[in-house]
Every structure is written in C-alpha cells, then in structure tokens.
Symmetry: D2
Amino acid sequence: MIKIGIVGGTGYTGVELLRILAVHPEVEVKCITSRSEAGMSVADMYPNLRGHFDLAFSEPDPVVLSQCDLVFFATPHGVAMRMMPELMNAGVRVVDLSADFRIKDLDVWSRWYGMPHESSEWAAKAVYGLPEVARDEIRQAQLVANPGCYPTAVQLGFLPLLEQGLVDPARLIADAKSGASGAGRQGNIGMLHGEVGESFKAYGASGHRHLPEIRQGLSQAAGKSVGVTFVPHLVPMIRGIEATLYAELSDPADFDRLQALYEERYRNEPFVDVMPFGSHPETRSVRGANQCRMALHRQEQSNIVIVSSVIDNLVKGAAGQAVQNMNIMFGLDETLGLNAPALLP
Amino acid sequence: MIKIGIVGGTGYTGVELLRILAVHPEVEVKCITSRSEAGMSVADMYPNLRGHFDLAFSEPDPVVLSQCDLVFFATPHGVAMRMMPELMNAGVRVVDLSADFRIKDLDVWSRWYGMPHESSEWAAKAVYGLPEVARDEIRQAQLVANPGCYPTAVQLGFLPLLEQGLVDPARLIADAKSGASGAGRQGNIGMLHGEVGESFKAYGASGHRHLPEIRQGLSQAAGKSVGVTFVPHLVPMIRGIEATLYAELSDPADFDRLQALYEERYRNEPFVDVMPFGSHPETRSVRGANQCRMALHRQEQSNIVIVSSVIDNLVKGAAGQAVQNMNIMFGLDETLGLNAPALLP
Amino acid sequence: MIKIGIVGGTGYTGVELLRILAVHPEVEVKCITSRSEAGMSVADMYPNLRGHFDLAFSEPDPVVLSQCDLVFFATPHGVAMRMMPELMNAGVRVVDLSADFRIKDLDVWSRWYGMPHESSEWAAKAVYGLPEVARDEIRQAQLVANPGCYPTAVQLGFLPLLEQGLVDPARLIADAKSGASGAGRQGNIGMLHGEVGESFKAYGASGHRHLPEIRQGLSQAAGKSVGVTFVPHLVPMIRGIEATLYAELSDPADFDRLQALYEERYRNEPFVDVMPFGSHPETRSVRGANQCRMALHRQEQSNIVIVSSVIDNLVKGAAGQAVQNMNIMFGLDETLGLNAPALLP
Amino acid sequence: MIKIGIVGGTGYTGVELLRILAVHPEVEVKCITSRSEAGMSVADMYPNLRGHFDLAFSEPDPVVLSQCDLVFFATPHGVAMRMMPELMNAGVRVVDLSADFRIKDLDVWSRWYGMPHESSEWAAKAVYGLPEVARDEIRQAQLVANPGCYPTAVQLGFLPLLEQGLVDPARLIADAKSGASGAGRQGNIGMLHGEVGESFKAYGASGHRHLPEIRQGLSQAAGKSVGVTFVPHLVPMIRGIEATLYAELSDPADFDRLQALYEERYRNEPFVDVMPFGSHPETRSVRGANQCRMALHRQEQSNIVIVSSVIDNLVKGAAGQAVQNMNIMFGLDETLGLNAPALLP
C-alpha cells in the first residue's frame, strides 16, 4: 500500500482526492492537513465521506508527511514551493495540484502569480504532469506539477494539430467555460449561488493565469512560440469545463485526415476519447470521471478547425489527473481507481 | 459471473443500472432491450458509457432473456406484469423497478395505476425489496418488487418510530421533494429545463401513486393501519430526494432515547446512515451513492419528531437498491459494486 | 414626489428596492447608504441599474436622512433599532425590512436574535406590516416592521383557517422552502454555488428565527396561542418561497366551503391570488412580482387541509411588500409600481 | 390604443410578448391565437398572467386579425410567410418573430430552413428589424422581420468594427452561449431539465441557421462579404445569451480608440450599453430587460479585439425587440413599456 499525505485538504480538490482514493485499492491515506480545520473530522466537513474515512484534519507536520510515499499538495499557490523542499529531501514524492511548478519561466510565473518564486531548483526539476505528453518523465519524477484545469482541456484539444504543424500557430483561439467549483471553496461573494446561478459571463478576458501555462504547453507541442487568445467563462453549474478551440488550417485539404489523426494520436490513451466527427461532447458525459472527450467540426467553405473538448475540472482537471500521475509514478496500472463511468444524468 | 438482462434500458434508471454494473465485479450484462431504440449502441445514447459497454439496444427476446440469471425491468408500469411470467417460468430471477408488484392489494393497485393487474399469482409471490425490512425474504425471492423512490426515503425515516409504537400512527406527515430525474426521460413539456429550472412547486398534492405504497409499508411496520399525508414537490435539480417527516410522539419523554433507537435500528445496515441529532442531511451527500442518510430534530416545547431523510432517487431510490437486492439474492457481499462515495460537490 | 432614503443598500433587498423604485412614478431616491461601499456608484455594483440611477452609496448621515419623507432600513438585525429613533424624532417615517420590530415580546426577540433590544418604546409603537391584516394601522404608522419572508407566505396561507377557527390550532405544520437569495449577499461558504447548487436540505429544523414571528402572527389570527412546527429548506434556485401548510380540520364537512372561504377572504386583496382548488402554484409564477399565490388540497379520506403558498422572497417577502406599505402610508394607489407580471419563464 | 393580435402565442416568445404588453400604456391585445390550445385561458397556461389578461387562445381568424393595427407572429418557421400576405393586403402591419423574412437570399433561406419560400414578394419588401441599423426603414415598414437572438447579440457587438473597416473581415469568430428558453417550449427530450441541467455543450457547431443571418448582417455592415465562424452553446440556465467575439485588428494602434468608437456608435441608442473597457457583462444584468450590454478586451501583445455582448434572448433577442420595433413603427417613444430594470439577482 502506498502511504499518502494530503496537504491542504479542505478545498474541493482535497475532497475530490479523498473521494477517488476511497476506492483505490493500492493506497492508504495517512494524513490530511489543514491549519484552519485541524481537529475536525473529514467526514464532518464532507458527509459524503462518512463511513469511508476515519481521518481528522491535522496541522501539517513535516515528520508525519515525511513518512508518506507520496504527498499531494492541494494548497493555494505559493504554499507548495515553500513546504515541499523539505519533503523532497526526505525522499518523498510529490504531486503538486497548485500552480507553483507549472511554468518553467519563473519571471513569467512571478508576474502572473504576484510573488517571487522561492524554489527555482525544484522548478527546474519538476515534470509537467500531462501524461499524454510526458508519461515517461512522470514515471521517473520526484516532483510532478499537475496541470491546471483549463490548460488540460485546451492542450489536449490542440495537440494533434500543433504537433503535426497543420495550423497557423499565431492564430489560436480558446474560448473556455467552467463550472463554479473551479473557483474553489472560499467565502467569495462573487461565487455565491445568488451571483452565479442563472447567469453567464466571461471573466479574466484581458488575461488569466492559465494563459501563460497554455502558451507554454502549446509552444512546446508546436516546436515554436504560439499566439493564443484564451477567454474563460463562468457557467452556472458546479463541475465541468468545455473549451471550444479555433485554428486555421494551412491546407484545407488536410480536413480529410483530421479525424483519423486525432484518433491515432489518442488511440492508446485511456483517458482521452475522440468522438465521431461532428459530435458535441457534453460536460456531464465526464462528470466525476477522469476523462477528456472531444470532437472536431468544420463549417461550410471554412478552413477553421473547430475542436470541442470537455473535462471535469475537478477530475481530469485536478484530482483525477493527480491520481493518474501517482499511478504512473508508482508503476501501477494507470487506470487504477479511475475506472468508474461518469455520473449521467 | 451473473448473466444480466435489462428490459427497457433507455430511461434514467436504465442508464443508472449500467453505470453501476459497469464496475460490479461479478456481473456480465448480456442484453439490454428497447423497442424504440433497437440497434442503437448504448454508448451512442449515453456517452458516459463509451468504453464501458459494447452493447446495443435490442428488441426484447424471451429466448435471450431466459438465458440470463437475473433480469431487471426498468419499464413503464404495466410492462413487467405482462412479460415477466414467461421468464419466471424459465427460472430466471427478476428485479422489477416498476410499480407492478409493489402493492399487495390489487384493487388499490388498479385504481392508482389505471389498469387491471394481469398477474395476481406473481403479485402474491413478489417480495417488496426494501432490504432493511425484508432481507431474508429477498434472499429467497424469485421476484423482487423494487420500492419506489419516495417510499424508500419515507419508510426508512419513519420505521423505527412505528416499529416501536412511539408515535400517533394516524397523524403522519411526509413532505417530500425530488429532483427532476424522478419524472423519467420522456418528451414532457412540464419537465423542460425552461419549466423546471429556477422554480419550485408541489405536485400531486391531492394524491400521488406513491401514497398507497407508503401507506402499505408504514402500516406493516406499525402493525396497524396508519394515516399518512404525503405531498411531493419538484426541486430544480436532477438527482436527490429529501423527505421531511413529522410524527407526534405519544410520550414526550421518549425524545431522550430516539437518537439511540435510530442508531441501534440501523447499526448493521450498510446503506443507512444516522447522523448526529440536529444534523441536516444534504441530498448531494448521497448523489450517485446507494445511501439513505437521516437526522432527527425537535423544536422547543414540541412533541413533534422531525426526521429529515435523503436519498439519490436513481440509486437507493431505484437502480442502486436493485443491485443491492441482486447482491442479496445471489449471496454476494451486499455492498459489492455499491461502495463509492457520493459525488460532492 | 416622495423623498426616499435607503439605509444599508448593498444587499439583495437593497438592490430589489431600487429595481422596484426605478419605475415607481411617485418617488425620488435621495440617498442610499453603505459604510463599506461609500463612494461606489450603485450601478457599478448592480449593473442592471446602469442608466436608471446616478446615485452612489454614501456614509449614513442623519441630517441627509432626516430630509427624507420615508427611509427604508435594509440593514442587518440590530442596526435599525439603534439608528431609527433619531429619524423618528425628526418626523421621518420608516419601513424597517430587518427583524428589529417584528416581535412584540422583547424577551422572545432577545433570545432569538442574541442581543438586548434597544428601543422598547418604538417596538411598542411599530406596526407589523402585513397589509392583508393591518392595512388601517399601516396607513397611520410612523414605523412599519416589514414582515419576514417565510412569515409572509405562511401567515397568508393559514389566516382564513385560523380566523374562522376551523382547524386544530395546536397542530399546525409549515414545511417551507426558499431560494438562496434569502440568505443575503455575504461571503458565506455555505451559500456558494458549489455548495447550494444541485442539492436540497432542511436547515434550522430545530428552531429558526422566523418561528416566533410566525407563532405571533398565527396566534393573533386564532385569538389564542397556537402550536406550530416550522421547518425551512434551501432550494437550489435564487428567488422564491413555497410553503406547504398542514392543518387538521375540526369538522371534515367544512372542506366543502374552504375554497369559497379563501376566495372571499382575499377577494379585495390586490396581491393575494387564490387559484382553483387542487392547483399547484409555482414560485416562478411570482418571480419578481409582489404576489402571494396559493391553492388548497385534500387527500382522500383525510381531514388534513393542505395549502401551498408561494411568494418571491425578495418582493412580497421583502422589498415589494415594503413598497406596498409605503404606498399605503402615503395614501397612494396600493399597487403603484407593483403591477408588472412575474418573469416566466 | 393600438390594437394588437398575436399569432402563435403558446411558446416562450408569446408569453413574453404578453408580459411586456401587459404594462405597455398604448396597446390593447385583441386576440392571441393557437390552434392546439384554442379555448384555453391564457392565464391558465401562464399563471404569471393571472389578473393581467382575460384573454383565451383562439383559432387564427383572418377577419379578426385584419381588424388589428399590428400582428405579431410568434410562430414556427414557415407559418408567417403563408398567413401574412392576406393580412398585409388588408393593411395590417406585421412584426414577424420567426425567421421567414430575415434572409434576403431566398435560396440561402430555403437551404437552411428546408422548405421553399412562399412569399418572395414580401421577402423583398420586409425590413430587417435591427433598430440600431435600420430605424428609419422600420418606421415606414409594413412588414418587419424581427432578428434572431444570436444574430442580435453578435451583430451589435461587431458592428462598430466592421462599419469602420478596422478588422480583417475574413477572420471573424463568434462563440455564443444561450440559455435553454431559446429552444422554445416543445416536448423535446434533449431539452429536459435532466438533460440540460448541470451540463454544458456546443451544438450546431458544423452549421446553425443563425449563421447565414449573421453573415448577411455583418456583410452589410462591412460593405463586403465577411467570413465568420459561429458556434452556439447551451448553458444550464433559462434566459440569456452571451457572445464572445474575436476579430483581428488591421492596425493595432487602433486599440486606443476602440472604446471611444463604441461609445460614440451607441451614444443615442436607448438599448445598447457599452461598459467600461475590460468589464465583464453578465447575462443576469439584462434578464427580462430589452438591453444589449457589451464590453471590450485586449490581451497583452495581441491584436485580437475581444467583445463580450449579452442580451436576454427572449427580450432584446425576441419579444422586447419586437415591441421596440412596434414603438418605432407607430411613432411612439421607442422605450415605451421597455423601461424596467433587469431582474437581478
């Protein structure tokens, strides 16, 4: 059994990790920390876990965490980069669900996250944990930076086009929409039901923290710097991201082979599903499941490729992908604990 | 492996059966029937099942169904009572998720369901499948009538009071609320998102089909005929039932032992969870899980016991309870395939 | 033009007052106060008011407020009772939307609101502003205590039964359900969309602040002390309250005249609508409208009267009723500014 | 008083017309037709209208309709083009809310709507009723083709850019999202609450009927044929459209004057509101109101103009714009009956 610690477990990614790990056959959760809720039973905060965990939240204790095989950080940005080095030195492996190690250019990171980076050494060693791109590096990694939710949906949708150099890399548009759980579980007036319900809006349209992460991943896939416009939107629902992606095909004749290309690219990926050409993936078809589902579209007389890509932001966009990374790191079947179908309806 | 057939699989209980059975280690779904969708792949209708089932809907064929060990009927009322006898005679066991065999008094049944009953023989033999009441009979049964969704939540909440004779059985009130999936998946204008969303209402307040089923179960528990008022309501959500139950305690001094009584009554029940006195169960705490969660309340200077009881109408209120019954019928661990925590948030 | 001041305008009742007053032909809003948002334009906080008001929030200033003809308090409990006496002494009339003056027994008030009452003099003079009960007193009042949202829906539904002495006053049950805007606009984790959406629960089932207010009003109608059980629930929607009321008819023969009784009781009430017997009022049928809509039900062989009563908690349950009271106080047509139909769908 | 007829009044645009006309001081609704519901009281179908209209649905009768000054068609596509000529010949003026007269190229129309056009004469005379573009023609028109919902939000957002020739007209992208009421009120399984709730998806991504209408309007504004990609999405809410628009600025220096350009373009438009640069319009800020609200964005180092534009699809996207057109046609104040603020929250 893999001994697991979770740092910062009171948020939505924390409870989602516990939900997934509750039925994972090869792990044992040894501790889950929260400074603010230390002493509170996990099941008192999250009654869906009653009967599944006896655990209480505890103060983060490096000694206890060091005895774990793997520690997940589900903390606000800036915490992991401070706490993690001590664990790394003790040989613990870490999957960081925060943004601390996602961006390689630390100047860019500092600008978008509003603080200096405090662990450039580990930032250099961290592996960006998108298994569909970096499975082998993840296997060896001591520190995995779990991708952001939007970047997961957007990168997986664009990858085949950019890897094959089929589209104009300077003209990528990603119009993305997310449920409210993406904003976390904090006392934020703007995220009240009375504010979010029955309404729809763009936000961060002039610049969102996931933009540099998306740009980094797409540039790597394209082998050159890309130009991407990314606008996120808030949907009155809890879980789910849909990204509608637009790219300009250099040679319209390539439309004929796009579907085959996508199917081939993801043929062996257990968690990416390419639907038939012209399908419309629904976010509910991945609710609670570690799955990215996508489909391609073309409008008449147009050379714009349209890709619609959906994930559950808390699963393939956070906790599920983190467990997928854990499975890879520990040589387990990559799908272990991640096999249940989505909850539909 | 238990060979499973599903008759009438295109509705919400059908897809929910498949979702649960997809991860059940001891079953194999051999066929799923639908007259209207024969030939269509299950995964085309329910994309959450892509990769989980290769099955297509087929015309119901008694020969094929007769080769199953167990057949679930997820059909509209009136279908099972006609189709099932042939299967029973072939030795197949049946769990009927429709209302055909829930009510013992066939005159009452006919009046509420608007048709004569066509299988009085099997109606007499059918076991009402509420495991918390009839586990032993279910184990032996060839035909199990799976309880209705409201009746499950209401009966489990009232049972300890009635079994112990602590309340006035003539003055029971059950104010129940359900998400929209309870109405099934049919082209009903009243269930459009534009009609259901952002609104709340009572329905069936002058009399609902689940009233006689509730009355039958509560009368059996009380050992005498009860008087119960039952009003269902429609909640703008998809899954979940909450029932707030009111009963008048004969001796207010009994308030002191109610919590212990409930905990004792359900101590060994894997799927009933009694929360601490004064808690408020949320439907989301059981979303997707085969669980009934409840709590007790008292208001100052009052001798009214208040019980709040929640289930997922598609799981403990339908498909999950059906699989629980199957597990019992086949001598499996009762919780097999039903262990995952609820999806929260 | 009536000069209006609003104290505490940043919450949902504040913006709702402005929405209604924006089209009221006889008022002019002179000031709206908020300590926390002083200086901010009203339209910046509530963009639906862009083009309707040029006003900015200001620090509450007794001099400015004293120049108003009427001041609405849309403040947290405890504020009006401290600020209001100075205005009263200056001859200003006040409609208090908080709970400060709703309960006549100040010991009861203190116990439920957790603070001593600081204005017993005005508490004695305040008129409880339910126009259907106290229209004449409201007309003369200097201080009107605007009823709570649940108490409005519950009282209007029970009134005819109690006034006529037709039911057992010791056995009243009010099972009420509210949208999330009832909890106000504060950074409360429990009211996040991620917590409220797609879930349903009871809350305050052991005792809620509206219980003593309901008990006071019903006791007055009955002419004797009543026993009432009141359980509120949270519905995943923004606006709307439905209350399902249960009462035991002393003489079942009275069922035959109940519908006529209700219609007669409310025949001249512009904002109470009695639907045909057996109807099911929807909260959306009153969304945004100053209306209470209700219907009666009976189940077979039962002597329980069932009343379903709906309001918009922010309108007839708060700001709309406050404007109705204002219209009465100033001798205007009671429906002025309150005539638009509900927003459906 | 203007005598009004409504043909096809049972859908969401029909009830919305009635909601708006109920408080319009210069109209009298003489008849509202529905073949399927003839004889039913309007208020029985739409209880929000109880007390506002005494009207019942009637069979469409050309004699009665011919006595109206204005007839609104709120019918499925294909009905108005058959019924309307007789009324036109009788001198009645018509606002058609269906798509029958929106597209000038009848070959295009036939291809997208799947039927031959039966009134080419009137198609040529019809005025496309976007007041911000064609106010003078509307004033004179006998037949106004009321614009589609998406086309209204998209055209108003793009117009200033195209009229001034500032962007590449071959590379326009409109990513649009709509609430479920846009699909109308029909027994469509895909629009059930259980299907739409808590999910998000693109639809019609390979081609939607509003695409040719959008292309026609934008081409007219640009003075040349434009290339536009339009992808609609379904949002789990009832009302509201948000369109996020992307266009490539020919000269990035023009960014400095865009905000002023938009404000100037819409300075005298009562129903278009340009928010400050970098704002995020919410659909709820226009719920129930005849308003289009928009804002501009730029991302760092980008020459893509981003416009976010919101409307209520049933108001500025349908019934409200129809009444605005009526006001213009009859020389009334354009804002009459359309002045109430949006319902927020």
